[in-house]
Amino acid sequence: MAHGYEELLSFDVAALGEKLKAKEISPVELTEAYLDRIQRIDGKIRAYITVTADLARKSARKAEHEIVAGKWRGPFHGIPIGLKDLCYTKGIATTGGSKILGAFKPAHDSTVWTRLSRAGAILLGKLNLHEFAYGITSSNPHWGFVRNPYNLERIPGGSSGGSAAAIVARSAAATIGTDTGGSIRIPAALCGCVGMKPTWSRVSRYGVLPLAYTMDHVGPITRRVRDAALMLNVIAGHDRNDSTSSRERVSDYTEKLDTPIAGMKIGIVRELTDNLSPDVQRSFENAAAELRALGATVDEVTIPSLPMSGVINGIVTWAEATEIHRQWMATQPQDYGDDVRRLLEVGMMIPGGAYVRAQRARARVLAEAMDAIADRDALIAPGAGVTAPRIGESRRFDSEGGGIDVVAGILRFTQPFDVTGQPAIAIPTGLSSDGLPLSMQIIGRPFAEATVLQVASAYEKARGALPAPPPLQEA
């Protein structure tokens, strides 16, 4: 029990789980280290909306008693985590990052929290996000702008911005995010951590405030690939409270993490290789070369309909979100932030026929994606086309005077795999010339999360450690 707080914060979940099991560290001191860290730095990052310090301390004491008594529940027993504030927590404020639900305390837990809680995880608090998960900046007008730990003038991405920022700022050991157009992978890509979007239906959506029923995914955001696998082991699987949750068998997602990828076939998605910033292009090419060096065959594949994914994702999300928010838009539209209210107003103009057409088109894109991966083990693409934009930056210009819409330039890499529902992980590939994280996505066949994690793990080991973000001045 002689670890200092800084050392405790340096361990990933896999290491912490072993040390907790061996009683080398105590859940109580570990939780205190994280609560102390939140108190010291969260004023700068604004990753948390609610900190559940009393509950965390109580849960930590309970975990300590159980572990000392030999009742170790598994790798998440005693691990301090944070939940995106879309996830219901019984009796604990669940705001959705909104003013509208500012005082809402659910009467039951989300399934994802039920499972993590049963696994012994300790809730540090509820994490900030883009309001109602409807946007990618996490510049939340009600609960504060979440900041990117690598550069406080930059956005962390979103909508799970608090979930990724907390991981990189070391104010949570693991977190939960949700992904409708990229909201797990985008903040992971821009903040420099691991974001795993499982196959649609792999993780229950019960008790998670919806943005778009048929596009929403729930998944881990972590420091390391192994941590994501361990967390997925806890949260994946059928849930009778979510009629859409899959009955597909749940693997042990850690099983293949040490299996070499030599001989595997990996396809680069051609439609996602243009309009990259020079740093992104260089880093992505290096990552592909690293996979080749590990013995994989890397070639190019095409998914011709993929460029229409933004339209499909947009129409489905617009239509479903507008239905979800119909009552609040009727009674208190002034309580939304301007950007979210504008999106919901556009959604009111989406006709039913366009919505059904977009849903039908999903099968076309998925069919082509399945063709592309049929003879391969995984696909790869950049995590984002640009590095983290400045807060408020809407367009970015290159040296030739060309410019791109940064939101569209980020979303187009992630939306396709919400449309197809395939598992996709974002993993850091390095830092740009100005010190911002760069990222690659690895995409698999539906329910082949274990393969996605295997490739990610092999790459992560070959890549080595990333430079840490600059030290945060205490708040």
Binding site: T214, S243, M349, R360
Partner: protein, 71 residues
């Protein structure tokens, strides 16, 4: 491109949702929705003949039984 005017938007939102929009908001919604609907038309070119929307009866039954069980 579908012709959606700010006036159309204002009237539709008022009539369908009893929702009031100012002129500049209506213009913005008209532009965005018009562009999106143009692109939505293009989805038909993907070859959607024979593709049904992915709404399954099994989920419908499960959802109904789940609601019934709560009573």
């Amino acid at each position: 491109m579908p012709l959606i005017t700010p006036e159309t938007v204002k009237r539709a939102l008022k009539d369908l949702y009893d929702y009031d929009l100012d002129d500049s908001s209506a213009l913005r919604v008209a532009n965005t929705a018009g562009a999106m609907l143009t692109l939505a038309e293009q989805l038909s070119t993907l070859g959607l003949d024979g593709i049904e929307p992915p709404f399954g009866y099994a989920n419908l039954m499960t959802e109904a039984m789940r609601k019934a069980a709560k009573k």
